[in-house]
Structures are given as structure tokens and as C-alpha cells.
Amino acid sequence: MADSVSIALLGQPNSGKSTLFNGLTGGHQRVGNWPGKTVEKKLGTAVRDGVAYTVCDLPGTYSLSAMSDEERITQDYIARGGADVVCILVDASQLTRSMYMLADYAGGRVPCVLVLNMIDVAESQGKAIDAAQLERRLGIPVVPFVANDASRYGKLTAAIQRAIAEHSCVSSDALAELYARYSPEWSEAYGRLSAHDDAAERFDAVWRAAHEASSTREGTVNCGSARLVWVDRMIAGVQAENAGGAPAFLARLDGALMSARWGKAIGVLVCIGALLAAIILGAPLMMLGQIPVMASQPLAQGLGTLGVHPALVSFVSSGLMTVLFYVFSMGGFVFGVAFVFGLLDEIGLVARISYLFDGTMSKLGLPGKVMMPFLSGFGCNIASVTGMRVVDSWGQRVLAIALSWAVPCGTTLSVIPTLAYAFFGFGGMAIVLAGLAAGIPLAMLLAAKVFGDRLSPVEERAGLIMELPPYHKPRIKPLLKTAFRRYADILWRAFKTIFVVAAVFWAFSYSATGSIEDSIIYAIGNALEPFSRFFGMGWKLFMAFLAGVLAKEAVLGSLAALFSSTSATMLTAASGAAAAGFSPAIIAAQVAPAEAMAFIFALMFNIPCVMTVGATHSETHSLKWTILISLFYLALSLLISFVVYRIAVLVM
């Protein structure tokens, strides 16, 4: 038995590859990008029965042609000997279609295992698959599998060991016969290649001839036809089908979702329902954020009586506790969204949503399923950033994340009207909000224009042909496990990011005398005044604008601290700050309406918060793109501030 095995997972995007990857490797994963490519690289490790496994989750591709980066990477990885064994995942409930991947691999000399994933779904549809017969026919181990059922992994690793020991590969003989019959292009290429077929090559001459032939339109169609006939022969008599189908209520929901008249409205309702469910589910975890807020005062008093230095008391009671408040309130929602989205994806609803909104979203270069993460951005941008995992291609995912930053989060939606009302009263507030609402789609369109071509080239856009998977019965336990893993991960990452930024902010705004005029921020602000004035904001508003990058919750507290000069720290948890110090009258008296207008607009379109920046970095694993997106929104908000100020001066 081999004691160290390198496995490559190969399968179409909906084959359940990621679930298998997570199930096999647990938390032991390293995610990055393939060198120089906008494609995600996922490597994981696992130890089972004393064997060390390295697992590479190859990018989900529909075939092994070399039409996209994903496909080239997949092909290269196998051709260069990256794997000891290739696990080919097919959807057992759609065997006749998903076996194409195996036909495309036939001729590969790296041993392989066929994983009949979602065998439970197939059974519930009344399909019985004779795996033993299929195994005899193909000459490789065939494993009936359910990726989210932990008890089945032992059989999978046993099959992998068997494939390596027996060096079991799919014979390309039968396929060669079909290629020869269907494709003259193949015959021509094979004639040239077969003469010097080196056994050390990881793809044989039959395979290489087919891929050479597929560079032309005729060759593509002919070789494709040959593979489909091969699939039909391989599974003939293997699959027995009885009547089955989706549960009645899902079938009815499907009918409603697909309906031309009501589909979109029902789709939006499903999304909103999902959002509410996420909030309810995340609420208990979000409540944890109230503990540091409540602890803040007693902690300050307690530390004070212990004789701790006042600076440290201030840092712990206002700085650290505020950071914890932000992190927990955000994390709870992310947990809720991760679970609910995972659930809808597994049921099969995400693909239906994608179908409904594909037309709209394709204008932005995105698949329709980004609709759901976008909507969750109204709760929290971090949730929408992490929710973009539903997007298959890395480039499109980064683009979707970039656009999702334009969605105003729950806090922004409470802060902005508060400010608008404070400065302009009801009528003014309505006008400001209307202007902002119009601005969001424009900001998204602009971001799509700026980033679209690089991240989602028109000719590579996926979703042109999309599979609507059958409805699945979800398994709650693995979903909860994944959501909790994501929760713990995001809590820790967000804490690290915001802690550093908040510490710097706190240090700058700390003043020994208790007056903001003795803080570093006051000095910096004054120095920046000429710069910030150019964009329409006085230094105090500009500092509050920067505080908004820390967290939108920090804006009101900062305004109170900056303008009233009495409460010293700008970092106080939102709930406390608004009640304690924010007095619109004082600020309105010191700020011209045009300046206030510029500030409100700038705030709205700026970087959502540093935690979102951190989440974007961890989701894209690209510092470059994280910085580019941040700079885009910073520049956009300053530009908008500049324009709004000039117009407002003329009008107001």
C-alpha cells in the first residue's frame, strides 16, 4: 500500500467536487492562485489509516480541452505528473451527461477512480446503478458515493489504493475505434502521433490525437460525438430507471420560479426570505457583540481602581471592546448567510436564481447567482464577499466581490439617513436618498467597466449554457459544520485586521487631556485641510470619512468626538456613541450644507470597512486586486465628493 498519495480531483462544476475536497481534507487546506493565472488553486492534506494524502482540487471544467485557463491548468497538472491518481467525479443522478468527463480523460495513463457522487439522489429518483458491472466494463474502481456522508470515505480511499496498486486506467481502445469512425481529423492526427507514442507520456496517442483534432470545428464536433457514443455504450444496461421525481412542493416551487410572469418576483422573495432566515439564524451569535459593549463601562472603572494607566484603560475599554463588538455583530450574520446559502445551493435553488437573473447580471459580466450574495450585502458586505464562493470562476468571483462593495450595508443604511435628516430635514433626506439609490447601480456599472475586461473576458464568460441540477435533499450537519468553520475563520481574520487599524486610530485620537485638540489626529487633520477641502470636505468631516473606512459604525461617534470636543475617544461602540455624543445641531452649525452633502455622498461610496477589505483579501488571495478595488472606491468617493460639492455650492 502506498503510504503517500497525491490525488487530483477532476469533475464538472456541479459534481460536488468541493464537498468531497472538504470532506477529505477537513480544515487542512491551502488556497491560493495558480502562478500567473486568475484561477484558484486548492491544495489539501489528509491522513487516513496511516497514509498521507495530498489532494488537489482541480478547477471545475466541463472538458479537458485547452480552451480556458482552467482547462489548460487541469491538463498540465495531470500531464506533468502532479497526481498519482485522478478521481473523476460524476453526478450519479445525471450519469448519461456527466460521464462525458470520463470519456474525455480516457487515454490518460495516470490511474483513475470513478466516483459516482450523489448516489443517494439517483436512488431517490428511482435510478439503480450497477456499479460492479460498470467497474468490469471500464476496468477501473467505481465507487458509489455521497460527498457529504463521512462514513463513505473509507471506501473511497480503499478504491484509490486499489487503483494505484493495479495501475487501473480506462482503456482507450473502444474509444479509438469510435474516433476513427466519426472523425477523419482524428485519424489523420493519430496516423502521425501513434508512430512515436512514448509510454512515459501521461496521455496516450489516442487522447493526444483527439485533442489535436479538436482544434477545428469539425474535429470538435466529431470527437465529441464519438465520446458521447462511447458513454452510451459504457452505461448501456448499467442504469435501471423507475419513476421518481422531485417532491411535490419543490416541483410546484420550480414551476413558479420558472414562470415568465412571476419568476423574478418569486426569485426576489426567495432571496429576501433567505436573508431574513440568515439574520434570524445569526442573531444569537450577533448578540454576543453586546457583551463587550456592556462590559466596556464596568471594565473601565475596574481597571481604573486597579491603578492601570489611563491610556491603557481607554484602549481596552473603548478600543478593544469596540473591535469585539464589530467583529461579533458581523460574524453572526456571516454565519447565517453561509448556512442559508449553502442550504439553498445544495437544494438546487441557487442555480434557479441564476437562471432568473442571468440576463440582468450578464450585463455586468456576472452569472445570475450573484444576486443572492449581492442582496446579503444589504445586511453586511463581508457576508456578500464570502457569499461569492458560489461563483465558479475566480475572475468572475473577484469581479462580483468588487461590485458587491457598492451595496450599502445595514449600518450604512442606518447612518446615512440619520446624517441626511440631521443636516437637511425630511425633504432634504428624501432627495439625498434618491440620489444615493440612483448612484449604486451607476457605481456598479462603472466598477464592471473598469474591472470587467480583465476579470471576466467576454469570450470566457461562463453561464452561457447552464445546468439546472435536480432538487436535492440537504444534509444539515455538514452544512452547519462548514458554516461554523467559515464563522471561526472570518472572526479571527476580521479581528486581526480591525484590531491593527483600530489600534492605530485609537492612538491617533487618544488625548491625555480629554480634548480632541490635543490628539495627533487633530494635528494631522489640520495639515490635511487643504487636500480635503479640494474634495469638498473640511478636515473634521474628512476624518469622520476615514473613520468610516474603519467601520461605518464609527462615523457617528467620530463626528461627536470631532465636533463637540468634549468626548475624547472616537472609538466608541455605535449604540453607545449615537446616544451619548452625536448632536446634529452642533455639527450643523459648524458645517456648510454643501460640505455636508459632499460628505454624505463620499461616505456612501467609500470602501465599506476594513473588515470587508480583509475578507476580500482572504477570499481572493490576491493583495493586488484587494488594493486595486480599495483604490477604486476611495478614488470614486473622493471624485463624487468633489462633484457633489461643486454642484451643491451652485444650487444650495
Partner: protein, 96 residues
Amino acid sequence: MAVVAGADARKPGARGGDGGIMATLDRVSPGMRARIQRVDGSVRLLTRLASVGLVPGSIVRVERNDAKRPVLVYERDTMLAINREESRRIHVEEVA
């Protein structure tokens, strides 16, 4: 005849090889079965179509075909949504 009449200049009601009516996929009515005759498009599109089982000779059943929405077809155990733009490139003939 179940082919949706369209405003474009394609020859209406031209006869296919088996006597079926030629059309493009975007003009086939729901509930009808159609055999793919030929696909116009890049190698990329042809590869993608072949990978889901759509090659000349394949028979699909059109499930839904609503204006401005992808065409929903069923074939090889799978429900597929094909964008309208792409379905205009798929030439089919109806089969009983």
C-alpha cells in the same frame, strides 16, 4: 406546426432531411422534441455544447421557451438553460 413564427429573415418552414421543420432552437415551442442539425459558433462553444451532450444528432426536449429568458431543454438526464444568443446558433429539426 409548432415552430414559433419569427420576424427574422430565415426561410420559414424549410424542409429538413427527414421532412422535419427546420428552425433554430430559440424558436421551438415548449413540449416539442428537436434534433440538432448543426451549430454555428466557435470551437469554444462547440466544445462546451459537446461536453453536455449537445452535438448534431442529439435529441432534446424543449421544456420552456420564454422571451428574453434562456431556453430550457432536457436531455441526457439533465435540465439545461441555454442563453438565447447561443440557442439562435443551434439549428434543429422537429421530431415527433
